[in-house]
Symmetry: D2
């Protein structure tokens, strides 16, 4: 399913009890936390950790916009698959898109996050070449 021309990375987790609310379903704010896990996994699949990016270069990907559309509820203990794609990448701006599946393939939510590259003081910065290249690479297992 995952092709070099449409590279994505999947992150698998389980809906936690603490993530449910009194409606009996996963609270909608958790999807944004999962999106973030998806981004971490996307980086890891490309040979670096987002932690390393922050520590080595002092670059942050500040969230400028976050959005999620909910199609179906998720329940405690559901296996959740977050599929992350790099939608757009510039040296100053990065957009990720996400699909959330109840495992294996029921699409339950979709979303996007827009990120501005910044330094530790919050000022605009440029994504270092090496990380820009890695971010746009296909995972090794597609080489």
């Amino acid at each position: 399913m995952n092709s070099p021309s449409d590279p994505f990375t999947d992150f698998l987790t389980r809906a936690r009890y603490a993530e449910t609310d009194q409606m009996g379903v996963v609270h909608h704010s958790n999807h944004f936390v999962w999106f973030e896990c998806g981004r971490s996994e996307y980086c890891r699949a490309r040979g670096f950790s987002y932690r390393q990016l922050e520590e080595e270069t002092g670059c942050l990907l500040m969230v400028a916009e976050a959005r999620c559309r909910y199609k179906a509820p998720l329940f405690y203990d559901d296996t959740v698959r977050i599929r992350t794609r790099l939608q757009k990448s510039r040296r100053r701006l990065v957009i990720f898109s996400y699909q959330v599946f109840r495992d294996p393939d029921i699409l339950v939510a979709e979303g996007e996050t827009i990120h501005l590259v910044a330094d530790r003081s919050g000022k605009p910065a440029l994504l270092p070449d090496e990380y820009f290249r890695l971010l746009n690479s296909s995972p090794p297992f597609h080489a």
Copy 2:
């Protein structure tokens, strides 16, 4: 500031330590939790609690879409003002919009949530007349 023709309700809170992340600012997912607090306060200002709506009528306002645009960071212990407006209301669909201020008036984020009216089983439902009317009313202090 709050006029009958543009009725909004403010909810005040403080950014909690647990809401910060290692970037030193409030994590972006918390804004969606605050939006929810804003909705609760919006209802309360109009004479009912969202809890009462759920318990008395079995009606839920399921989040179908949530969105936030971040303009400036918030820090631990900042006083935060969430301004909630009813953007659109139908018997089956309700849209709220939000402005987040670092108290008193620095706009740091804006967002919207779209809600579908549903019964406890998740099936589409109609918002009961009384609550529809209350939702569209101005707070008593504007009467």
Copy 3:
């Protein structure tokens, strides 16, 4: 490592960015969420899900006490291993204990949770025989 005379179950996760705070480490409240994930995994390893217990029998394991001792910090993206043991089990009361490791084996926290068996209305109840037996069993792979 895991013997029938000391049966435990390990749950693996990664520290999420959202779980860090401005101190740069995982916020201490998250450990209690991980303990809960550990309990879920403990049940799953013994052939049932805690979700099933709630749904089939109406039994809840209400938290009566929760405690954690922190020995070392955890950082974003650390692989975390939560080791869960059944410390004590009665038909009305269950105690779990936990060890949190930075993978593979640096002990960073320890804790316990005491649970009272209750029905949906919160009244004291007895853990059904079958689940009591499963809870006290060794995981299948030890049989």
Copy 4:
């Protein structure tokens, strides 16, 4: 109620929808977040903010142990009162105790947190004199 010989500080909040779980009550991990809010308010009532302590002195109060005993459930929209006391204070170690009330006076939980004074690198440190004194003072309104 609040006397110089037993100085405490109350923090008021409302149980948020996001803080509930599928049991229909506030998830037990939130109490530790509220304890933290209680500590912030305790400091504020004594003329300083915990934020200021961190920023000005580089001193952190690292949580070494956290504990909570739950007596009764809390529900969405309940007004919650967290009463914080300084149980013990040394230059290297501080213990806070908490009572959680469903407003105005139903005791629903009690707990403690033990803190070690540390510098930014996590090494043991001494609480600066001025803050030690403030921490042990009675709130101004008791002077």
